[in-house]
Amino acid sequence: MVSVGTVVWLSSELMFFAGLFAMYFTLRSTSGELWAAETSKLNFPYALVNTIVLVASSFTCQMGVFAAERLQPRRTGGLLRFTRWGMVEWYVLTFLMGSFFVAGQATEYTMLTSEHVTLDANAYGSSFYITTGFHGLHVIGGLIAFLFIIGRAFAAKRFGHFEATSAIVTSYYWHFVDVVWIGLFLVIYVLK
């Protein structure tokens, strides 16, 4: 029941990003020359590495979900034996990869700002920072959620379906944010 509610909420989040995509494409269709000039300042390989880390974090997150479904919060082997990892280890790894993405995006913002792509410079700057910025805020929200899920796993003496359910719905959110980023990446860095 929690999971169905989460998916319904995520579908409304899809419409939130629909508005942002619509804004981006509308501005792009009205100022093509500006787009040609500004998108050449984007660092494609850098963004690609960041994207790969975020996409990979969805897979580590899913490994955490499998562990949660086994009701296994902690690892049963050594730290490096990842086949024995529990939900906490996989979610900590996912958290680190998500943090890498946010840090990478912040660095990218400073690089672009030094090339005079800023929020208030022109229509391109506004649409770039609003779309990627709102996505970044969603990633940060997901990171906070992971901390809460890990905290719940530590607080529980018996890791049960209550803990597992919240871990699973958090993974839905993470996968959703990941898919939105793939869309944003294709639109902003590939399509240009």
Binding site: M1, V2, S3, V4, V7, V8, L10, S11, S12, L14, M15, F17, A18, G19, F21, A22, M23, F25, T26, R28, S29, I144, F148, G151, R152, A155, A156, K157, R158, G160, F162, T165
Partner: protein, 132 residues
């Protein structure tokens, strides 16, 4: 639960068709084309998930016309009987936006309160009398 699934999938397919027609007729007007396309995505997304849920939970009393009320009895899920934390979180959000309008310092106070409310809400059934 198949009916719920088909309702949303059908809605999604309808809007995907509408989006395609709209795109052709307007020669790709971006705002409407994308919005309609993603409304289609909304329907397909909910419908597909309900389809998976239907396969997982199997046949329910709600799916049969001859079911009795008592067949649906039992535990429906985990529901909080009462909680003060949503109120605290709501007030801190209100304070946050109030701060944006009248004075930024209020936002900092509200952010601190929001952290307390979130921690309180998330861990309400993991500590104290409910520790398990």
């Amino acid at each position: 639960m198949k009916i719920e699934s088909w309702l949303f999938v059908g809605l999604g397919i309808f809007f995907l068709i509408v989006s395609a027609v709209y795109t052709v007729v307007t020669h790709f007007e971006p705002a409407g084309s994308l919005a309609l396309l993603l409304v289609g995505g909304l329907g397909v997304m909910i419908g597909t998930y309900l389809g998976f849920t239907a396969r997982r939970v199997g046949s329910r009393p709600e799916d049969r016309s001859d079911a009795e009320v008592h067949e649906g009895a039992g535990e429906q899920g985990h529901f909080s009987p009462w909680s003060w934390w949503p109120l605290v979180l709501g007030l801190s959000c209100a304070g946050g936006f109030l701060g944006l309008a009248v004075g930024f310092w209020i936002t900092f106070v509200a952010a601190g309160l929001a952290i307390v409310a979130l921690v309180g809400w998330v861990f309400e059934y993991s500590r104290g009398d409910h520790a398990h």
